[in-house]
Amino acid sequence: MKMSFDRRLKNPSLGTQRSDKYSKIRLIFLGSLESKLSQLPLLLLIAFEVHGQSSMDVCGFLVVSLLLSCLVETCYGVAFSSLQSTLVVAASPTPGQALKAGQDQITVAWSFNQTHTSGTDSTYKTMKVKLCYAPISQVDRSWRKTNDDLSKDKTCQFNIISGPYNSTSGNNSFTWTIGKDIPTATYFVRAYAYNADGVEAAYGQTTNPQKTTDLFEVTGITGRHVSIDVASICFSAFSIVVLFGFFYIEKRKAE
């Protein structure tokens, strides 16, 4: 919804012909109707139409309604089970391969699955490819839990690449050096396609729907460093020495 605002504000000819303050308001009105979200932005803007004076008010209310709409949107995310798997995604790691974070690379390739009706992907405007946790790495770890509500889902926490959706060329691919902050776990790759409102419209993943095949492992970077080890040992020795030194001094004083 945010994107629709921006595009329409930059291109007033998309809406009515008039470019005064009230036309901007009506464009937003149309935008919020289209997105079919909560009534809240609608109410805000109707109230604003009654007022609508200086451009400062316009800006202020734009910001507020944008923020509220985005907040509302995150409260009610799309359900993953409602998405269709229309994308084909492939990743370079072989099943069970172990890769090193910060060093090794993954090449991902994605395209539209031609077995689906052509034209289904006309609504896809942008897409993101993400690195996702496999179920074995989610066991007993509620901070990685899969939730059908995509606004609360924590399965896919790392972005590989994002950008505009390109359906004409069948070969979209990207080579990614695994980030240094990727923890040790088992992963697969998933791509989401977003429609013009920035809402997930479709997906594709390298593994099967049960997420049991074609998984690969990444070994994270350990934070241990020689200098920290040395500093720890030195400080520890210092505190023990001080303690026994003190006992020795007390004993000497008492004698």
């Binding site: 901070w143 902050d181 970077i221 934070g223 460093h225 720890s232 400080f235 505190s239 001080v242 008492a254």
Partner: protein
């Protein structure tokens, strides 16, 4: 004729034992107020170290591949370590004095805090939290020291301020440790998996420094230090050994009752410190940072609420004697229990935050009120009684977490919180069992001739 021995000069008014009868918060006068400031600062550093791991868990858990079970076990281990340490600290204070006992423990656990930077597996994580938890035994030394330095009319106040301000360490660490890590990652460009390891130098150094200050400037008693040499056995617990002192304390039923009630005020506070951030995050969907800030504010309320408990205890003691102290403890802890039941039932975020704030004030005040009663239970085994009560606190935390919040049970966290409140109310009823022959109990008056100048009777009773 020999000149009479010079009477020692103190800057605060003192009683016959040279314990201060006034409490001046912002003075550093030796030895009473200096002991107070050294003691609370040293315990603050211990709480800071013990609770320095939870705020960084989101970084640690991915680096060490921890699961929720590992984190829960480590949280319980942190308190289990302190149960036996607090029990052992009691006799140690009676025998060696609080100054040496507390600084020894601090200096020995500082290397453990530093070793956090070396760990690489879930098992070592649990072990490290278990060992760091030992440093919480300094709480017993802290309360013992305050009870030795301050007279009975201000002992609740002194105990309350010392413990309350020290408990703030558990809240301060939730704010400071993430700041230290972001300082290291942003200003020094250190990767976060190294930064969290390096950050533990701060609590360790702080703990060592405060321990050294206690050793240099502290003094066990207003008259001097404990010296267990042949010449002055009088000041050394009458030459009793460890086990005599320990069993004398264990035989006193009042220590057990206070241990139970303290388990359900301070133990509940420790449990809440562990579970609140996750509760707000899961149930109301707030950000991790916001949830951490809410949990920190629970601990930070200690600045005023625990001392307030001490003030109330002393005031009630002044007006109504021991009966006043016991009744005020019962009332405050029962109200805290009711608020805890309410916290589990409230459905809105803001309602929960308000109820949580009220709950934090009452539960911490109840802790302060408990240590307004403890100094009166036993003179010669004061350390052991303090240790039993203090251990009771951590036992309560461990039991409550295991029974209600260990993830293997059928009910939700909010039901667990309400049940915790119910357990608080039921356990507080045991206060009615406490009876002092010299001062009475909740329902009965004293059975001995009340004589406030006759400290000998008090000494001989226990």
């Amino acid at each position: 004729m020999e000149p009479p021995p010079p009477t020692p000069h103190f800057s605060l008014p003192v009683d016959a034992d040279h314990k201060a009868t006034e409490f001046r918060l912002f003075s550093l006068s030796s030895p009473h107020m200096l002991a107070f400031h050294l003691s609370w600062l040293s315990l603050f550093s211990n709480f800071f170290s013990t609770f320095s791991i939870p705020p960084l868990l989101s970084l640690i858990r991915s680096d060490l591949q921890l699961s929720s079970t590992d984190i829960g076990r480590a949280g319980i281990a942190a308190f289990t370590g302190s149960i036996f340490a607090r029990l052992a600290m009691g006799p140690a204070c009676d025998l060696f004095g609080p100054r040496i006992a507390s600084s020894t423990l601090s200096l020995l656990t500082a290397p453990v805090v530093l070793s956090v930077s070396l760990i690489q597996s879930p098992l070592s994580f649990i072990l490290v939290r278990f060992l760091i938890g030992f440093s919480l035994a300094n709480f017993v030394a802290n309360q013992f020291w305050m009870s030795s330095m301050f007279s009975s009319n201000v002992v609740g106040l002194a105990n309350g301020f010392a413990a309350g301000w020290a408990n703030v360490g558990s809240g301060a660490t939730q704010l400071l440790m993430p700041l230290i890590v972001s300082l290291l990652t942003d200003c020094f460009q250190i990767p976060s998996s190294t930064a969290w390891r390096a950050a533990f130098v701060v609590p360790a150094v702080f703990q060592s420094v405060t321990a050294i200050l206690v050793l240099i400037y502290g003094q066990d008693l207003p008259d001097g230090n404990y010296s267990c040499k042949k010449s002055s056995r009088k000041t050394c617990g009458s030459g009793n050994n460890f086990f005599t002192v320990l069993f004398r304390g264990l035989r006193n039923y009042r220590g057990w009752v206070l241990g139970l009630t303290y388990g359900y005020c301070f133990g509940v506070e420790l449990t809440a410190d562990n579970i609140l951030a996750e509760y707000f995050y899961d149930r109301f969907g707030v950000d991790v940072d916001v949830a951490g800030a809410i949990a920190a504010s629970f601990g930070l309320a200690n600045v005023v609420s625990r001392p307030a408990g001490g003030v109330v205890s002393d005031e009630m003691g002044r007006r109504f004697g021991m009966r006043g102290r016991l009744w005020s403890l019962w009332v405050v802890q029962t109200v805290a229990g009711l608020l805890c039941v309410l916290l589990g039932r409230v459905d809105s975020l803001w309602g929960s935050v308000v109820v949580m704030c009220c709950f934090s004030v009452f539960v911490q005040a109840a802790s302060g009120l408990t240590f307004g009663v403890v100094p009166f239970v036993s003179q010669r085994s004061l350390g052991v009684i303090s240790g039993m009560t203090g251990s009771g606190g951590t036992v309560g935390a461990v039991v409550t977490q295991l029974l209600l919040f260990s993830g293997s049970n059928q009910f939700s966290t909010q039901t667990g919180i309400s049940l915790m409140g119910l357990m608080m109310i039921v356990s507080t009823l045991s206060l009615a069992l406490i009876y002092f022959p010299k001062w009475g109990g909740m329902f009965c008056g004293p059975s001995l001739e009340p004589n406030s100048e006759d400290e000998e009777d008090y000494f001989l009773l226990e």
